[in-house]
């Protein structure tokens, strides 16, 4: 018993100091955003179109990506869980391929699909004699974000669907419910925590995606790129700090929601 108390008093300060180091940059960030910006950085974000547009378009893009990912992934995930067919295991293993590439490479993927020499350009050329190109637009960004979001949600939905108690569905059927009634009343509520959790992570990842956006060098300034530009090129530290804190806050809330719904620890990293 006494040993325990001694080790507690020895280790605790060490841990608190380490934590302080963890927090220091965030505190510093806040200081910079307020002091160097004369307290008007946050006001500027709301009033200057450039920043506001960056914030809103990032939020909009992320929301849309999340929504589309959830719909596609739920259908696919339920389908993959419920039916057995030849090659299913290979298909599922392939699903994790996109997760293995960093944002930069995913940017290239979009260029290969929708760039000047891309697949869509070839198809367009063959069909209507005109290259279909959208790699460097909002659509390209959307495609790239979908690419790394869908597999993540599909795998979560599959995990949740496998845990779905078949007796619940059978109970619903014995009570005379139709397939659609069971889907709405039993399946979806059971999947809900998984959907909220993976949706939150999907949203947070999209909000913080830098590599993809940077590679596509798009005209749409998503938030992480704006932060980079302000800090490195414009040396507008206060604005970069304010935007970073807003982005961090949004992501932190999303991760908190995901964790509440039972997701393992996840983070943005890189």
């Amino acid at each position: 018993m006494k040993n325990t108390r001694i080790s507690l008093f020895l280790v605790l300060p060490a841990i608190i100091i380490s934590f302080a180091f963890f927090l220091l940059p965030i505190v510093q960030l806040f200081k910079v955003s307020v002091v160097e910006g004369n307290g008007i950085s946050y006001w500027n974000i709301l009033t200057q179109p450039m920043y506001l547009k960056s914030l809103l378009s990032t939020v909009g893009l992320s929301t849309f990506v999340t929504f589309v990912s959830l719909v596609i992934a739920t259908i696919t995930g339920l389908f993959l869980t419920r039916y057995e067919f030849w090659g299913k295991q290979v298909l599922i293993a392939m699903l994790s391929f996109p997760l293995a590439f960093p944002g930069v490479v995913i940017g290239f993927f979009v260029i290969m699909l929708a760039g000047r020499q891309g697949l869509f350009a070839q198809i367009g050329l063959a069909l209507v004699g005109e290259r279909w190109m959208f790699a460097y637009s909002m659509a390209g960004l959307f495609l790239g974000y979908l690419y790394f979001s869908i597999p993540r949600v599909v795998l979560t939905v599959m995990g949740a669907a496998e845990k779905l108690d078949q007796n619940l569905i059978e109970a619903g059927r014995s009570l005379g419910a139709s397939r659609w009634q069971i889907f709405c009343d039993v399946t979806v509520p059971t999947l809900r925590p998984g959907l909220i959790s993976s949706g939150s992570i999907c949203f947070a990842t999209s909000m913080g995606a830098f590599g993809t956006a940077f590679t596509l060098a798009t005209n749409i300034n998503v938030l992480p790129m704006t932060i980079y530009t302000e800090f490195t090129l414009n040396a507008n530290f206060a604005m970069a700090a304010a935007l970073s804190l807003i982005l961090g806050l949004v992501t932190w809330v999303c991760l908190g929601i995901a964790k509440r719904q039972g997701a393992a620890s996840v983070g943005m990293g890189g």
Binding site: D165, N167, L168, E170, A171, G172, R173, S174, L175, G176, A177, S178, Q181, D185, V186, P189, T190, R192
Partner: protein, 360 residues
Amino acid sequence: MTDKTNSVEITLKNITKTFSDGTLALKPTDLTIKAEEILVLLGPSGCGKTTTLRLIAGLEFADSNGGSINFGDKNVTELPIEKRKVGMVFQSYALFPNMNVSENIVYGLKVRGIDTAVIDHKLAEMLKMFDLEKYAKRGVHQLSGGQRQRVALARAIITEPDVLLLDEPLSALDALLKARLRGDIRTLLKSLGITAVYVTHDQEEAMAMGDRIAVLDHGEIAQIGSAKEIYLQPKNAFVADFIGQMNRFEGNVIDAQLVLNTGKKIPLSSEALASSNANETLSMMLRPEDIRLTKVTDEQHALTGIVSSSVFLGDRTRVTLEKVQKEGKVIVDCFQRIEYPSGQIVALSFESKHLIPLQG
């Protein structure tokens, strides 16, 4: 719900079930469950009892070899569960976790688009019947095991199904609650007058619950009959061992007696003798509670054994005897709170009518 429902007779004719991996889960089976009867399907795991229940429910479909399942006059062989008018109660309760008690109970009425006033009336009736009024608005996760079971039952019978199917509904509960609820459920089923099929692996539960019991073994019905028939006249060793404790004696028939490998002798009844030949090897079974222990008076002729342990279990003393036969022990249940010290030699006596000949 206070009226008796229209109960139906269930008939299975030549029903077989092979799983997709080729396992024969149910060998060709004929089975009739009378209207208003509670039939218990009893057996160890993997014996086919749950498969039989799911075939009756319409959650599985029988092999297409001409077999049929009828509910009364109606052939339901091809009908899925939605169209069979059955109520189901699952071992896991299978309550909808996103609905409260009331929402769970009325779900079967709601999906049918029944009028709200009717639903409310029936709900009130159910909540009262199952003593759940206090819990009407509770989430199902806040309920105890016994309360969940009652909600599951209420949800199953509110739609007034023709048949009620119960798949080990009590096995998740503790022993005391189990003993109480099985009486309640039987009373409920009898008052509803509904035809019910009840699956369990617990022999005491089966005897307490069923009008008849079907003991299943390896995908076929080993024996079907009342609890008494099955306990007192088990058709084979599997049934005898599965329903309660059983002693087995093996020997040769010599001079109207069964001579064991220790040379000890058991007198046989005239029925047993009539169906056996002299010198034939014969197995006889005997229940522990049918044996009485007495002092050894005539060591030469008596059937004796040595007490290896004697355990007081409250309502009985379970005495284990050695050396009656060369191998194996004999278990005796004594209901007269007497002590038997280890090592004591005792004589076994019993009425020869209690000896059960082992067939097959």
